[in-house]
Amino acid sequence: MSSAALALREVRYQNKAFWRNPASAFFTFAFPLMFLVIFNLLFGNAKRVIEGQTTTTATFYVPAIAAFSVITACYTNIAISLSFTRDGGILKRVRGTPLPAWAFMAGRIVHATLMAVLLVVIVCLFGVLFYDVSIPTNTMPAFLVTLIVGAASFCALGLAITCIIPNGDASPAIVNASILPLLFISDIFIPLQGAPAWLTTFAKVFPVWHFSKAMQAAFNPFETGSGFHLTDLAVVAAWGLAGMFIAARFFSWEPRR
């Protein structure tokens, strides 16, 4: 069997195992929707101004929560599930088989990306059905490219963060501590209006801010161009590459307790 076929096989088995844990699968999908509903309830009456045009809160939140979904499905899920899989000795076992390491990793990454895409579709549909949001057409290519670049990069970062996670029990704490503050200061959970300049400068160092900006731009109903934010995409991709490099160099197949 070719290595690519082996990787696809990993995706298939990973997918089987994923859906057989219904509680985990349900909350993976329900979580972003919960945030979408809550933020719309809290801030629903306010009008937003996007690039000089007034629009609804939902038009701001659908791409923001879509970005959040990608980060959850890729970064958070990969980091936490790999940490527990490593604790369980499954990674060590895989290491002893002829399955190439990259095929195993590719299986995880492709599956997480598929889940992220499915989540984004659900979030967008939810927005269309309940919040009267319109799906952009002219910026659709930009939206898809941003989605895939973001998913791949956050998967790589999820792999990278496992290098400093000692065991499964520590993983939710480390993963949340690394991502939640960034979600708050990157125009995802709450619009960054009137935040101190230094905070925005700080946020701009990290990929979450750039990913959220690129997603917003590609979802902007007033956008007349292609909606590509190439600089933001480049920053996200650079972080992804850095993550891949760290994971390739320092990834551990056995738990350190």
């Binding site: 057989r20 844990n21 002893g96 002829p98």
Partner: protein, 316 residues
């Protein structure tokens, strides 16, 4: 590498100041069941994980099926099977799916039904791994190790935590593998396991091999004196002096016989002549356990029942 599956010379592995493996030599022939026997912390797992390719050695030569396992080559991994000490299988897949998944990793795997049959999980093949008992999960571990039809199988303490009947089944399975001409490298801290399965065994203590050979002759068992024990009835006449009997206060007698046939002849002749019944008469060669305990420096049962520390040296 003619007929030799594993060749190890002066293997050393240190973790900081701790020398886990302190220079061992091992040679395992193809088709042989070789057992590394030793107490916890003796260096068994470190050794087997170096042979499997998980650990890098500090120094020494290691050759497994013509490969240096530390290089982790795919063609090497295709020819070996590994059963690690601890279980690790995706809990949401079924028995059948896990075996099938692993079969796909190898160029010429063993048939699915056969693998499941060998570990006696046919009745559980549609069950999720998470719902299996500990013993069943362990058997699935073995199934996964066999999925690729390896010519060399590593078993790291395969029956730890098994009940007696599960262990008998596991042993029968290893014997099946041997009948198929597979080489098996087994670590265990159960002496009866080595005794029952191994063609040759090595006892490892503190990172060193202290004895090696077929379990029947290990540690000089073949030459060691046979022990004869029995119970002497009250008022029996004194035993012949030349037998050097040790008589306990409860009239239990222990003889060490270097020529057991002659000793028994003298003993039973004496008993018939004096019309003495030798109750609970038993004749035993030193067990592997005796050899093992004396070599590993652990107190045997006999020593444990007497004070381990002389009275004057007891802590007060």
């Amino acid at each position: 590498m003619d007929g030799i599956a594993i060749e190890v010379q002066n293997l050393k592995k240190s973790y900081g100041d701790l020398e886990a493996v302190a220079g061992i030599d091992v040679q395992v022939r193809q088709g042989e069941v070789y057992s590394l026997l030793g107490p916890n912390g003796a260096g068994k797992t470190t050794t087997v994980e170096i042979l499997e390719g998980y650990r890098e050695r500090t120094s020494g030569e290691v050759n497994v099926l013509g490969y240096d396992p530390a290089r982790g080559e795919r063609s090497f991994k295709q020819r070996i099977g590994i059963v690690l000490q601890s279980t690790g299988v995706e809990p949401y897949l079924t028995v059948e799916e896990v075996v099938e998944l692993h079969r796909g990793y190898y160029p010429s795997p063993r048939p699915l039904d056969e693998v499941i049959e060998v570990v006696e999980l046919t009745a559980k093949r549609k069950s999720r791994v998470g719902k299996l008992s500990g013993g069943q999960q362990r058997r699935l571990d073995v199934a996964v190790g066999l999925a690729g039809d390896p010519e060399l199988l590593f078993l790291d303490e395969p029956t730890t935590g098994f009940d007696p009947s599960a262990r008998r089944h596991a042993w029968a399975m290893v014997k099946n593998l041997q009948a198929l001409g597979k080489t098996v490298f087994l670590t265990t801290h159960y002496m009866d396991e080595a005794q029952n399965l191994a063609d040759r065994a090595a006892i490892i203590v503190g990172g060193r091999i202290v004895a090696e050979g077929p379990p029947g002759t290990l540690g000089g068992r073949a030459e060691a004196p046979t022990s004869v024990t029995f119970q002497l009835p009250p008022h029996a006449p004194p035993l012949p002096e030349h037998l050097h009997p040790h008589v306990s206060s409860s009239r239990g007698v222990h003889l060490e016989a270097t020529e057991p046939m002659k000793t028994l002849h003298d003993l039973t002749g004496w008993a018939l002549e004096h019309d003495v019944e030798l109750e609970s008469l038993s004749v035993a060669r030193p067990s592997l356990e005796d050899v093992y305990l004396s070599l590993t420096g652990e107190p045997s049962d006999a020593a444990a029942s007497s004070p381990a520390v002389p009275a004057g040296e007891r802590p007060t």
